[in-house]
């Protein structure tokens, strides 16, 4: 009897210990599909770099929250001069880099000057193009002077490539990232996982997690069992495909569908006949059925778009009705272009499911109006050199994931080969407009021009399929920028 009591007591105790250990869980393993090539966001464009480091390891003057709003980060406040050309940032004090060195205005000056230098290899160098001078007024104050008012300057300073690095460690950040964030790199087992640990000397609110591991799971088939077995507890954006329904019906997991900045479009080579004719582009736009494409290419989860703008962003105008799905109308447009017998063209598809699956649907939809598409699958490297750099293509499908990138249609030499002076004027005006309402108005105007002029056929906004343990809180719902910000992530009971 006594023995039984002891055993029972021991069992209860160990159970209590187990539950309290569970309640206090402070580690997290996240799955990511692509491994970052390195961990320096100021030196590479790969989205995976930002996923791991943004807000976790590196911080900028400002930061972007999961609603796409600008929040203070290393700068606690700022003042803008009356002419909109000078920004004076007041910096937080007591901030230290992960190697123990102190953060000051000099680091801000160093980072911004480095990013805009002539020999800069910053992947978003255009963000810094309007800066003419950066002055460290005192250790806690930085003054940035621009060549004119810049409507999106504070937002730009919160982007992934604009994070602040230290002079002494900047060159080593690819392998040993030294930032100011609430997490620091513990180790990186290449090809396998990247482990971050809590930074005990963090200047702001400490993170709830002690350890976060980003494990690289390149295969869809592997992602599902990894989640089901508990090896991985969260995917910020899961390559779930057909398994999503199974996961959604499992109460152990939360499935949160959010928005991204990924406008998935059928890009058109606007200078290449017959696509230089507006009527031909209008025919394409009228012939495609967005809902069928969304069903095939994004599990039915993407939001239809009618222009190059995310439905989640301020200023969005619903333009999906400009060219409704109408085969008869599409044929009429082709006739107007003198191509009533149709024509043949090629479509180059990069190796992502949305493009490969969407391409087949578009091929069959365009067949209905007599346009015969030949599908050419390409890998990313080929896509970048053939389509993006050499503009050797007719049509392609790609998702433009850069935030607020409607201006790409005004960039000279961009692969759309689109040149519309009216549109360029709107973008120019937008660049120098600071007033919020005026900006939204201009953004609406830009969207409308694109929707009517069809430099590309707008398909859908790429969804973010967040899947994580139901006990996990604080993961981002949306991806205004591709970042897995873990600063507010915690386990609950």
């Amino acid at each position: 009897m006594r023995l039984w009591k002891t055993i029972l007591a021991a069992a209860v105790l160990s159970l209590a210990a187990a539950t309290s250990a569970f309640a206090a869980r402070t580690d997290l393993t996240l799955g990511i599909v692509l491994e970052p090539p390195h961990l320096d966001p100021t030196a590479g464009a790969a989205a995976a770099i930002g996923e791991v480091t943004y807000a976790n390891v590196f911080e900028g003057l400002t930061r972007i929250d999961d609603n796409g709003q600008v929040q203070p980060a290393l700068a606690e406040s700022w003042a803008v001069s009356d002419d909109g050309k000078a920004y004076t940032f007041k910096l937080h004090s007591g901030v230290k880099f992960h190697d123990g060195s102190a953060f000051s205005a000099d680091d801000v000056k160093f980072s911004l000057d480095r990013a805009r230098a002539k020999d800069s290899l910053n992947p978003q160098k255009q963000l810094f193009a309007h800066i003419t001078d950066v002055t460290a007024v005192d250790p806690a104050t930085v003054k940035v002077t621009l060549d004119g008012p810049q409507g999106s300057f504070l937002y730009d300073m919160g982007q992934v490539a604009a994070v602040i690095v230290a002079k002494g460690s900047a060159d080593g950040n690819k392998d040993k990232p030294i930032g100011t964030g609430p997490f620091k790199l513990d180790h990186w087992a290449k090809g396998s996982e990247i482990t971050l640990v809590k930074n005990p000397d963090y200047w702001g609110t400490a993170a709830a997690l002690d350890k976060a591991t980003f494990r690289i799971v390149p295969d869809v088939a592997a992602a599902v069992p990894a989640l089901l077995s508990g090896d991985i507890q969260a995917f910020a954006n899961m390559p779930a495909q057909d398994a999503l329904a199974q996961i959604q019906s499992d109460p152990r997991f939360s499935v949160v569908i959010g928005s991204t900045e990924g406008e998935t479009i059928l890009s058109i080579n606007n200078k290449k006949p017959p696509f230089d004719k507006l009527a031909v582009r209008q025919a394409l736009a009228s012939a495609i059925d967005r809902n069928a494409i969304i069903a095939a290419a994004s599990n039915g989860l993407g939001k239809p778009i009618g222009s190059h703008f995310s439905p989640g962003d301020a200023g969005y105008v619903d333009l999906t009705g400009v060219y409704p799905h109408d085969i008869a109308k599409a044929k009429a447009y082709l006739k107007e272009a003198g191509l009533e017998n149709g024509f043949s063209a090629t479509i180059k598809l990069p190796p992502v499911p949305y493009a490969r699956d969407g391409g087949q649907v578009i091929q069959s939809q365009l067949k209905e109006i007599g346009v015969d598409l030949q599908i050419i699958p390409v890998e990313w490297a080929e896509w970048l050199s053939q389509v993006f750099t050499n503009k050797d293509y007719d049509l392609t499908i790609v998702s433009h994931v850069e935030p607020n990138d409607i201006d790409i249609y005004s960039r000279p030499g961009y692969y759309f080969q689109y040149d519309n002076p009216k549109f360029n004027d709107v973008i120019k005006a937008l660049g120098t407009t600071v007033d919020k309402d005026k900006r939204l108005e201009l953004l609406g105007e830009a969207q409308k021009i694109l929707a009517h002029d069809v430099p590309a056929v707008y398909l859908f906004e790429l969804p973010k399929i967040g899947v994580w343990d139901a006990k996990l809180q604080g993961m981002w719902t949306n991806w205004p920028i591709e970042a897995d910000d873990l600063t507010k992530v915690k386990w609950t009971d």
């Binding site: 491994e35 090539p37 390195h38 590479g44 464009a45 790969a46 020999d119 800069s120 290899l121 992947p123 978003q124 160098k125 255009q126 690819k174 392998d175 087992a189 290449k190 090809g191 396998s192 996982e193 494990r215 690289i216 799971v217 390149p218 295969d219 088939a221 592997a222 069992p225 990894a226 089901l228 077995s229 508990g230 090896d231 890998e379 990313w380 490297a381 080929e382 970048l384 050199s385 053939q386 993006f388 750099t389 433009h400 850069e402 030499g413």
Partner: protein, 315 residues
């Protein structure tokens, strides 16, 4: 024997030189610019050009080949464009996964295949043989990634005995690391064992029909002794050939299994390097693999000599 060895070594060296030219040429004609891949869509053409210069991509082709091949001679494999670390460091990390995995899979497949082959051959045409060869047929036909997924669902998701994938590294403890290699090794070993078992069986059946086997039996040796001592030894040559080929395959040809178990092995490194146009990594690792395959073939040739004394005296 020495002349034979010397001849083999010269052929091996020539193969290496030829392979280096082919590998380099093939990678060079692949479309795609590593600099543009690294800098992304928003970088300007000037920036891409700057990075190309930094990476030495604008030098003439022949110069770059000589530079690379010269480096290989002094065992300098260059630096990865994307990771910006020496290629040899990457290889060292990956070999720590790929070589043990290949060895375990090879050992497993041998342990399964040889007894099955002997069993089947000695019962040729009977029920046991039909059953074993039927199983082998299934083993060859089932795709190993499907088999791998079934193993994962059974042992990782349902029974939770082993992790569903990943590799914690040998630093996490030998047992922890081995645990994550068990399922992939089994998934790799079974199809290999099926092939090896069939080869062992047919080689053995052929040997069992030889006159000397009948003679051995006639002089009163028990069947088991004839089978294991005389027949099996003579049937080893085709088995060793297949084993050598399988080891070469297991070292880097296991990319599908590496993907399913997300193991950081050599195969995945090459695959990733190709998609990122990390040319130097692809070129150097392929050369290492070519060297490894040549070496394995040499070893197989020598092992023939060990199992077959007649070969020792030959040219």
């Amino acid at each position: 024997m020495t002349a034979y060895l010397a001849k083999r070594l010269i052929i091996a060296a020539l193969t290496l030189v030829l392979a280096s030219m082919v590998v380099f040429a093939v990678m060079e004609v692949l479309p795609g610019d590593p600099a543009r891949l690294m800098l992304g869509l928003n970088a300007s053409a000037d920036q891409v050009e700057l990075l190309r210069n930094q990476m030495g991509l604008n030098a003439p082709l022949v110069l770059r080949y000589l530079h690379w091949a010269g480096g290989l001679l002094s065992l300098d494999f260059g630096r990865s464009y994307t990771y910006s670390v020496p290629v040899i460091d990457l290889v060292r990390e990956r070999i720590a996964v790929s070589v043990p995995l290949a060895l375990i899979a090879l050992a497993l497949s041998t342990i399964i295949a040889i007894p099955v082959g002997v069993f089947s051959a000695s019962r040729q045409g009977r029920a046991g043989d039909t059953l074993a060869m039927g199983a082998a047929q299934i083993g060859v036909a089932v795709p190993n990634f499907w088999f791998a997924l079934m193993l994962i669902y059974l042992f990782a998701v349902w029974l939770r005995l082993v992790p569903a994938g990943g590799f914690p590294g040998w630093g996490a403890g030998v047992w922890t690391a081995l645990k994550s290699l068990i399922l992939p090794a089994v998934a790799l070993a079974l199809p290999q064992a099926a092939i090896l078992g069939r080869v062992a069986r047919s080689a053995l059946i052929e040997v069992l029909n030889e006159d000397y086997i009948r003679t051995a039996r006639a002089k009163g040796l028990p069947y088991r002794a004839v089978l294991w001592r005389h027949a099996l030894r003579n049937a080893m040559i085709p088995v060793l050939t297949i084993l050598g080929l399988q080891f070469a395959f297991l070292l880097a040809g296991t990319i599908i299994i590496e993907n399913v178990f997300y193991l950081p092995g050599l195969g995945r490194l090459i695959f990733q390097a190709i998609t990122q146009r990390d040319l130097i990594v692809v070129e150097s690792i392929v050369m290492l693999l070519v060297a490894a395959v040549i070496l394995i073939n040499l070893l197989v040739d020598f092992s023939y000599a060990i199992v077959d004394p007649r070969l020792r005296g030959r040219q």
